[in-house]
Symmetry: C2
Subunit: 393 residues, 2 copies
C-alpha cells in the first residue's frame, strides 16, 4: 500500500507539472494574440501609422459626448442640468426601438423624484393668444422664484413641424430665462404617441427640479382630453366676441375647465371682455359639479399689459390648496396614472387588430356593408373577431 | 392457357355467387333488425299501448309553437304580428349561444325592411316624469296614426329587474293601444350587451312596421351616450328648479340634446318652467354648433295636461325635414352603423385581454404600482401586452 501511495503521489505531481506547463504555454499564446489584435492584424514590429488625425479624434470624442449613458443622463437630470434634460426628452421621443430600454431606464430612475409640481393645462383655439399668454404668465411665475417648464401636445405638428411652441419668437423673454425650459410638441403619428412622450417629458422635467409645468394644446381636436388627463388644473383661454369664436371649441371642453380666462382684455376690449365673463359665469353654474368639488372661475386678463395675470396664479394656488385639503389632488394623479396604463393597453390592442393584414383586407368592405345596412354591425364585428383570432392561433 | 382461363373464370363466378349470397343474408338480417327497432324492442305482434294521451300531444304541439323557426319569425314580423316581434326580441336577448345563429338569421332578413322610421331618444334623471311623458307623447303619436314602439336602455335593470318601463302602470292607455308596442329594457351584465340588444330590437320593430321608435334611458350613466348613438333625435327631459336637479345629469348630456323639454309645466309651476326655459336657451347658444347644423330648442310641456306635447312632435318633424334636406339624417345613420361595428370590436378586444387568466393575475398589482408612481404607465402597459401576446402564441 505505501508503494502504491508514492506512485499515485508522484503521478499527481507529474500531472500538476504538466498542467502548469500547459497554462504557461496558453498565456504565451494569448499574449502574442493580444499583440496581434492591438496592431490591427498587422505584422508585429510595424508601428501603427498616424493616419487618424488628432482633430478627427476630438470630433469622435465630441460625438460620443452626445450619446451619454442612461446613468449620465439620470445624474445630469437630478442635478438640474437642462442639457441632460433635453437629451433625455429627445431619447424618450425617439422612434428607434433600440432607445426604448434606455429611455425606460431613465424614466424609472426619475419617477421617485417626479410628482412634486403643479401641472397646468392651457388650451384655446388659434388666435386666442396662447403663446403671448404663456410668455406673460411664465415670466410672472419665474419672478416669484418658480422653475417653469413649458411643454405642448399638438399631434398636428407632424404635418406643420411644430405649429405650437415652435415659434419661440413670441416668448422672447421666457426663452432667455434660466429658470424656464421650453420644449415644442413631440411629433408622432398618433395622439397616443405624442401624449405618451409629453407625459414622460413631465416626469423628466419634474425630476430636473421644475416645479410648475405648463402644457399647451390647441382646442380643436382630441388633444385636450389627453392634456386634461395629465394635468392638475385645466385653463381655457378665450377672447370676447360675438359667440362665434366658441364654435371652434370642441364639445365638452368648457366642462373640463377649472378656469375660463378671457384674454386680450385691454383697451377698447375691456367692456366686451367683462360682458363675456358674466355670460360664461352664468353658463358655468348650469354645469354639473366637478369631481374635485371645485367651482370653476371666470376672469379676464391681458397678456399684453400683464393685467389680471397675478390673479390667475392666485386662483391656481387656491385650487391646489382646496384640492390637497380634500385629497382630490393626489387621488386624481393616481387616477391619471391608471388612466394612462389602461389607455395605452386599449390603444395598442386596437392598433394590433386594425393593422392585422387579414383585417386590413376585409375592413373596408365590411364597413361599407354595415354602413349601408346590409349587414348587422354586431354580426359583422363577430365575424372579423373570429377571423382575427383564428389567424392568431 | 385456355384451361387456365376456364378455371379462373369459373372461380370468378363462384366468388360472385358467394358474395351475392352474403348480401342476401345481410338484407334479411337488416330487415329483421328494422322490425325490432320500430316495435321498440318489444316482441313482434304486441301493439304499442296508448299511454300518450291526446291532451299531452296537444300540449307538446302548443309548446312547439312557442319555438317557431327563423322563417316563421321573419314572416310574422314582416306581416306586423307583435307576437312574432316579441318572440324575436326574446331570441335576440337570449344569452344561449345556440340562439345566436337563429337570431342573426332573423336580423339579417329584417335589415332590408328596417331603417324607415324616426328614432327618438328620451333621457332625464329619475323624477323628471319620463314614463308619464312617454304615455302622453305616445298617445299623441298614435292619435296621428303613427305606430309607436317604446324600448329602453337601462343596464341597471339587471339589479332592479327593469327599473324603467318595468312598471307599465304609468302607461295605462299606451299599453292597451294596438298601435303601440312597449318592451322593457333588456337585461345584461354590460352596457354594451344591453345596447346591442336594444339596437337589434329597433331593427325588428321597424321591420314589423313601427314608424316611430322611442328609446328611454336614465340620464345618470354611460347609457345616454349609447342611446345617442342609435337615435336620430335626442330629447332631454328636465323640470324647473333651483338648478340642483342639473347635478344629477352626466357631463356632456346637455351638449347631446336636440331639444330640452321642461316637463311638469302646470299649475304653480308654469312661471318657474318658463324661467328655466329662458335660462337653458341662454346656455345652449354657448355650445358649439352641432354636426347636423340643427340649433337645439327649449320648450315646456305638461305630460299631465298634454299642454305642449303636440309642439314637441312638430319640432321633431321640423328636425327630420331639416336633417333630410342637408343629408345629415342618412349620413348619421350610416355613421351610427359603423360606430356600432367598431365599438363592438373594441369592446370585445378589451374583454378578451382583461379576462385572460395571466392578465387577471397581474393586473391589480400592476395598477397599484402604476397608481403610486413606482412604475411608468407606458412601460407597464408594454409589459402586460407582451405577456398577453406571448400566451396567445
Amino acid at each position: 500500500m505505501p508503494i502504491n501511495k508514492t506512485v499515485s503521489l508522484s503521478s499527481g505531481f507529474l500531472k500538476l507539472f504538466l498542467f502548469s506547463l500547459l497554462l504557461l504555454f496558453k498565456q504565451i499564446i494569448l499574449a502574442n494574440k493580444k499583440e496581434h489584435t492591438s496592431s490591427l492584424h498587422e505584422k508585429p514590429g510595424v508601428s501603427q501609422p498616424e493616419f487618424i488625425s488628432s482633430s478627427a479624434v476630438k470630433q469622435v470624442q465630441k460625438f460620443r459626448k452626445k450619446q451619454p449613458s442612461a446613468q449620465e443622463l439620470i445624474e445630469g437630470i437630478l442635478s438640474g442640468k437642462t442639457s441632460a434634460l433635453s437629451r433625455a426628452i429627445t431619447l424618450v421621443e425617439s422612434t428607434n426601438v433600440n432607445h426604448l430600454a434606455k429611455a425606460n431606464e431613465v424614466i424609472t430612475a426619475c419617477l421617485p423624484h417626479a410628482n412634486k409640481s403643479i401641472r397646468i393645462g392651457i388650451t384655446g383655439v388659434p388666435g386666442v393668444g396662447k403663446s403671448t399668454f404663456i410668455e406673460s404668465f411664465g415670466n410672472h411665475l419665474t419672478s416669484l422664484g418658480k422653475k417653469v417648464a413649458v411643454l405642448a401636445v399638438d399631434p398636428s405638428s407632424t404635418i406643420s413641424h411644430g405649429s405650437i411652441l415652435g415659434d419661440k419668437t413670441r416668448m422672447e423673454e421666457l426663452v432667455k430665462d434660466p429658470n424656464a425650459f421650453i420644449r415644442p410638441s413631440a411629433s408622432g403619428e398618433t395622439l397616443g404617441g405624442v401624449a405618451r412622450k409629453t407625459r414622460e417629458a413631465i416626469t423628466l422635467c419634474e425630476a430636473a427640479g421644475f416645479d410648475t409645468i405648463l402644457i399647451e394644446t390647441v382646442g380643436v381636436g382630441q388633444s385636450e382630453t389627453a392634456v386634461h388627463g395629465m394635468v392638475d388644473f385645466f385653463l381655457l383661454l378665450k377672447i370676447s366676441g360675438a359667440g362665434d369664436e366658441l364654435q371652434g371649441i370642441k364639445r365638452g371642453i368648457m366642462e373640463m375647465a377649472d378656469a375660463i380666462v378671457i384674454n386680450k382684455a385691454d383697451g377698447d376690449n375691456i367692456k366686451k371682455a367683462n360682458l363675456a365673463k358674466a355670460e360664461f359665469n352664468r353658463a358655468l353654474h348650469l354645469f354639473p359639479t366637478k369631481k374635485s368639488g371645485w367651482k370653476p372661475t371666470t376672469t379676464t386678463c391681458s397678456a399684453l399689459t400683464h393685467e389680471g395675470i397675478p390673479e390667475i396664479w392666485k386662483t391656481i394656488e387656491q385650487y391646489v390648496e382646496f384640492a390637497k385639503t380634500n385629497h382630490y389632488f393626489i387621488e386624481n394623479r393616481k387616477e391619471q396614472n391608471q388612466y394612462w396604463l389602461l389607455e395605452t393597453i386599449n390603444e395598442q390592442l386596437k392598433t394590433n387588430f386594425y393593422n392585422h393584414p387579414e383585417i386590413q383586407k376585409l375592413l373596408d368592405a365590411t364597413k361599407k356593408a354595415v354602413r349601408n345596412g346590409e349587414f348587422s354591425p354586431f354580426a359583422a364585428a363577430q365575424l372579423l373577431l373570429n377571423i382575427y383570432h383564428d389567424y392568431k392561433k
